[in-house]
Each structure stands twice: as structure tokens, then as C-alpha cells.
Subunit: 160 residues, 2 copies
């Protein structure tokens, strides 16, 4: 990604993702909204110190986490993805079309995405979160959304 | 507000508010974030058909609604503000400095704000929401935030 194209991105994109990962992110978010009525946050910090690439909320408050892997290396270096499970009801990997589906564990959901859209290759089983953790997470998400929008609306002083 | 200044506003501002109301909104949001660690959404549609001018979420999930009144007329024409109470734990009016505090009912909280900040003239009593309504609202807020950010990140097709 060139410096110039980075500058054209909206301020919410932090520039740490690869161009491939950004395309997968965009396609996944469109797909989840259009096909599953799931609204997604990108880059959600979790209480265990990890960041979820995508975290979606269904109309009934079910939480889906999608971990984007843009290359085999990207998948191999992450040994800690099972830690996402305690913060969601369903978990998926998402991959670009050129990456083989076989590298991902069959126990997890799988989405294939490009910059325009996505499709679900394998659904995820339901593994419901603890109610107290869901409640805490939902408050955090409401506050995260409000705070991100506020920072975009008013980049001025946040303290008086 | 001139056409030119409207064009300089971020896309989240819908242009229906007066310039005075926008200043009060901005000052209130800064104040609530800086002084009370409350993250605010602007223009939140509620299940009863009303829109909250500002709806804030505390770290513990308490909900504050702030109704902005930029003029005496603005306050007088609204007979239905008590309907906000069922969707929040604390309710406040917010006014610009030039508007008399005495026009507002003493039973409600009151904030004075300009475009830079705000101050609380009168606190609001706590009138806790029904738990089921709070739970539903928190899911709606999480989804509202995600959806607004998504639309800013990706103004492209939302359907495949």
C-alpha cells in the first residue's frame, strides 16, 4: 500500500493492517451486514489483551468474532487464537480467496472474502458466552462505538 | 450556518440541528466525556419513536439522556419530553448560556453548554430503567455505533 493510498483512508483505519487484510475486512463487514444483519466493529480490544479483527453483534445480542488471516505465515505465527472463544458465541477465521481453506482447523467457522464481499465456507457452532461477560462486553462495545464516533465528530480537545 | 460551513462538518452531523444546538451538543459531549467518563451518541432513535439528542453510557452501563433546548420556543413546543425517562437512568436538559435556567422544570437535571465545554447546573436524580429495557437498549447502542462507523469506513454498497 502506498503512502498516498494510506492517506485516502478514513481516519478510523489505523494503517497496521496489510492491504489484503483490509480487503478481507471490508468484504466480511459488508457480507455480515447484508446477509446476517450483523453490525461489526473492527479492531476491538478485549479484556484478555488481544484485539479482535472483527467483532459483530446480531440483533439479539449474539457476539461473533472474525479473525482475519491473510497468509499462511499469518496463521502459523498465531498460537493464541483459541483465546477469542471466551469473548464470543461464534468464532470464524476469514481468508482471502488465494489462501487454501485446508490450513484452517475444521472445528472453526471459515469465511472467504475479497474487497467487495464474502461468503461463508463453514459455519461456526454456538458456544455461548457467560452472561456476565456478555453484559460487560456489550457495555464496552456501546462505549467504544460512541467514543470512536465522538472522536471523528470532534477531533478537538477532549478535556476542558 | 452557511452552506460552506455545513460542508466542512463531518458526515455524521445530519444538518437538521441549529448552529446553537450543535454548539451545545459539542460542549456537552466534551464535558460528559472529560468530567464523567461518559461516552455519548448523538441523535439516538428510541423504541417509542423519539430521538434522544444525546445518549450517554457510563462505565457501569448507566444511561443518561440529554435533551438540548436552544431557545424558549424550542422548549415550549415539546410537550413530550417526559417520555425520555423510561429510556434512561438520569435525564438532563442542556441549554446555551444565554437561555434562562428558570424555564426548565426543577425536577430535571440541567446542563449549560457552549461550543467548547459545559457545566452541570443541577444534577439529575437516579430513576433506574427496567433491566430488560436496559439490556435491549445496550444491544441497540452497540449495533448503532458499529453501523455508523461502518458507514463512515465503507460508504460503498452495503448489500452484495
Amino acid at each position: 500500500m502506498t503512502q498516498d493510498s494510506l492517506q485516502n483512508l478514513p481516519p478510523i483505519v489505523d494503517g497496521r493492517q496489510s492491504e489484503t487484510a483490509l480487503k478481507v475486512q471490508r468484504g466480511c463487514m459488508r457480507f455480515l451486514r447484508a446477509q446476517h444483519d450483523i453490525t461489526c466493529f473492527a479492531e476491538v480490544p478485549l479484556a484478555n489483551g488481544r484485539r479482535a479483527d472483527l467483532l459483530g453483534v446480531t440483533p439479539k445480542g449474539e457476539i461473533w468474532i472474525v479473525e482475519i488471516k491473510s497468509s499462511l505465515e499469518d496463521f502459523r505465527v498465531d498460537q493464541k487464537w483459541p483465546e477469542y472463544h471466551e469473548f464470543c458465541d461464534r468464532f470464524f477465521f476469514a481468508k482471502p480467496p488465494e489462501l487454501a481453506a485446508e490450513i484452517f482447523p475444521e472445528s472453526e467457522g471459515l469465511i472467504v472474502a475479497d474487497g467487495h464481499g464474502a461468503d461463508m465456507i463453514r459455519p461456526s457452532g454456538l458456544d455461548k458466552m457467560a452472561p456476565a461477560r456478555r453484559k460487560t462486553l456489550m457495555i464496552k462495545l456501546a462505549r467504544l462505538g460512541a467514543d470512536r464516533i465522538h472522536s471523528l465528530m470532534d477531533p478537538g480537545p477532549s478535556a476542558l
